[in-house]
């Protein structure tokens, strides 16, 4: 059943400080709304529990892409379209650029934000695997100031995050120190465009000759939250991709994935299918390292 819109409040304080003051004054009462591509869907189907919304959609303070020597800093209010149009992200963070390019349709990308994708905290969301693989940090802000935490510590469980009721996600900081690394991302869904993924894997590896010196893997839908696959990483670090060793390395990767993945069953897929597909994606990446 559609919701009765007259039961909902929405205000748009003109500054970030004013939004934070309101969140602090009545913690838990207000829900921030950015692009609304999650919350308005919930409204449409009568499932939006929050009755008082605070718009952050218009806040210029949250919509920026800033590049310095070591990192790219992205405001939480940056849209997928902003990300796709940014040449620095396309060059230095291709996994993020790719994931933004297949998050929903053009119309959704014009409204949906990176901050909304992260804070909505779906295990299937498209940008978290890339951000996990890159080792991003997130900066949270409230009237008490800011705190910066590794993104791996942000997702606490199914749709649970480290955000306090009076906090907003402010900045996502992604290191841009991956020149020379092999980078690979692939999403498997029902169609190329606008399909929430069944599973997705974002992979980064640094080779030392034919040895995997470092490897980083972020995954969608392999757990109740977006997952940095540290178990698979540990199993593959130091292994060889030389011709004689490749099959053993692939087997080690697949076994580690089967052990680490705890995918959920839901309407889009079964956990068993997700594990198998993710193992195939990992194998595809490992074989691509040889080329």
């Amino acid at each position: 059943m559609r919701s009765d819109v007259t039961q909902y409040e929405l205000t748009a304080p003109t500054t970030l400080a004013a939004v934070l003051a309101q969140l602090a004054a009545e913690p838990g009462k207000h829900t921030p709304i950015a692009g609304g591509t999650e919350l308005m869907v919930a409204l449409g189907v009568g499932r939006l529990a929050a009755k008082s919304l605070l718009s952050i959609n218009h806040l210029k303070e949250l919509r920026f892409i800033r590049v310095d020597d070591d990192a790219i800093h992205i405001g939480a209010g940056t849209t997928f379209t902003d990300i796709r149009r940014n040449a620095d992200i396309a060059r230095d963070l291709p996994l993020l650029a790719s994931s933004a390019s297949w998050t929903g349709s053009v119309a959704n990308q014009n409204r949906g934000t990176l901050g909304g994708n992260i804070c909505n905290a779906s295990p299937a969301a498209d940008t978290p695997p890339a951000l996990l693989a890159y080792g991003a940090t997130v900066t949270l802000i409230s009237t008490n100031g800011t705190r910066t935490v590794p993104y791996t510590e942000f997702h606490l469980g199914y749709k649970r995050t480290a955000l306090r009721p009076d906090e907003l996600l402010h900045t996502i900081t992604v290191p841009r120190t991956f020149a020379g690394w092999k980078q690979h991302i692939r999403k498997v869904g029902t169609r190329n465009a606008q399909a929430i993924s069944k599973t997705a894997l974002a992979c980064l590896a640094k080779l030392d000759g034919e040895t995997i010196a470092e490897i980083r893997i972020g995954a969608a839908s392999l757990a109740d939250r977006p997952l940095r696959c540290t178990g698979i990483e540990a199993a593959l670090t130091g292994l060889s991709i030389a011709k004689a060793d490749l099959e053993a390395t692939v087997r080690a990767g697949r076994a580690a994935l089967a052990f680490e993945a705890k995918p959920i069953d839901d309407i889009r897929s079964t956990g068993r299918y997700r594990s198998i597909v993710a193992a195939n994606l990992l194998e595809e990446f490992l074989r691509s390292l040889v080329l």
Binding site: V5, G36, A107
Partner: protein, 165 residues
């Protein structure tokens, strides 16, 4: 209630609406422009697509307050305004090409398709088939099978580049 100032197809107006009312309903019920259609109401189908400040958006996912101060173009604003009374109104070249190439059948998806095409051809005046498919991936059509829509878009691209050169 909130008072929003919104420019629709070039005409600025002030409307009193619940702030979470969907822009789709504001257009249809408050501005009485029923060219914008509702398909899914969930952002999946693009039937409700309009241009807001030049960007394609699904109006079913835009709360009214987010359109405060915005300039919105709906299907009613795509064709050049009707000439003097009694003269036939002209279609926009995109509409004309959909009309001539079987790009519209039942017509429910058509307003959204036309606006998505508008947005696409602004970005890529000579789009490849891949670019057309990607640009229209958020617009679902259950009648045409899409091939005629892609042809219509290609014809429209040609027509528009001919006009502008």
């Amino acid at each position: 209630m909130s008072t929003i100032q919104i420019t629709i197809n070039g005409t600025s107006q002030s409307l009193d609406v619940p702030p979470m009312k969907r822009l789709l309903d504001v257009l249809r019920e408050d501005a009485h422009l029923t060219g914008t259609k509702e398909g899914c109401g969930e952002g999946e189908c693009g039937a409700c697509a309009v241009l807001m400040n030049g960007e394609l958006v699904n109006s079913c996912l835009v709360p009214a307050l987010h359109a405060d101060g915005a300039s919105v173009c709906t299907i009613e604003g795509v064709a050049p305004s009707a000439a003097a009374e009694g003269e036939p109104a002209h279609l926009h070249p995109i509409q004309q090409c959909f009309f001539e190439n079987g790009g519209a059948q039942c017509g429910i998806c058509t307003p959204g398709m036309i606006l998505a095409t508008h947005h696409l051809l602004d970005k890529y005046p000579n789009p490849t088939l891949e670019q057309i498919k990607e640009g229209l991936a958020g617009n679902l059509c259950r009648c045409t099978g899409y091939m005629r829509i892609f042809e219509s878009v290609q014809k429209a691209a040609q027509a528009l580049t001919t006009i502008s050169t």
